[in-house]
Symmetry: C2
Subunit: 215 residues, 2 copies
Amino acid sequence: MKVFVIGAGGNVGRLTIEQLKVAGQQVTAGVHRAEQADDLQQAGYQAEVFDLLSQPQEMAQQLKGYDAVVFAAGSGGKTGADMTILVDLDGAVKSMQAAENAGIARFIMVSALNAEDRTKWFAIKPYYAAKFYADEWLMHRTNLAYTILEPGALTFDPGTGKVSTSPSDDGSKSISRADVAAAIVASLNDPSSIGKVIPLVSGEQPIVEAIKNAK
Amino acid sequence: MKVFVIGAGGNVGRLTIEQLKVAGQQVTAGVHRAEQADDLQQAGYQAEVFDLLSQPQEMAQQLKGYDAVVFAAGSGGKTGADMTILVDLDGAVKSMQAAENAGIARFIMVSALNAEDRTKWFAIKPYYAAKFYADEWLMHRTNLAYTILEPGALTFDPGTGKVSTSPSDDGSKSISRADVAAAIVASLNDPSSIGKVIPLVSGEQPIVEAIKNAK
């Protein structure tokens, strides 16, 4: 499978391309800045700048020939809320339009836990709103074979290979980035994850099994 | 007709309630702050706080019994881009959900010229993005009888009673707020405007006729 990972310069994106490479997949890293592409190329990856502020038609040129797209980009709030709406929402939607335009069916979206429920948006509400509208577009305005992953608060803990896809009120609200990356890889390998919205927090179920059993 | 104007504390909203009152319509002003409601009540209007950061269920309580909603609110960029996504996009969508929830059919949206075309977004791109996704929701995710008005750059010029609904590349890109308000009133009175997206710039056609003839 040829996979294009948008946002491979970010923490989840970087772990995803590493794990995809280990798993023997053909992967291209789409990154924000030219220096990131250089660094990844030095590390042995195929990497190129993928500009989320450009138009879908241009983006589609770069996506041609791939089997799947992973959207793992995030403005991270660092560049202000302007970028939240232009990157996390409009950049995501343009990526979907570009994928469709390029004839790609499969699309994995890294969203956020509870993005679908406004009453549970906390702290960085604009980020949740961006994720909500991007997810809504993916589900209702595209024909993409999507999987939406909704990780809780991201940690730098080492991966455990295990997660829970049914967070409880008194249970974990966080997950390591490495386990999110593993869930992305598991989703790409499991067509039964198509059309699903899957919460992800730290837990006790092996990741491949958790993705397979997710409702 | 009983009309609820969301954002009546803003410039376009204020002119809209004035013109609706002159036209003999029953109008309620929904405003952001309690002092604005007090001021409008003193001026003889029915006015209440309408909180765009609350949930659709609560908002629906306030909209019950009205025949039409006008969304003329805008964060105005003054409070930062956080408010652009939470007010101009999510506040607008929650207003639509609240209107549907309250059994209201008619919804007039004040959008922005060229909001539907990313290549023409300029200057305040987050605002255009918010308008784009709000308009998309209104057209594709609701059953509301909508009219989307797309004014060009808003001026404080006196109303002329005339507009153009087919801006040309070398023609006017602006319009007075008073003429936008008149176009809102004309749209409310003209069922043929339902389901239309109508650009508005200064021009030479009487407003009622321009709304009637809009494509």
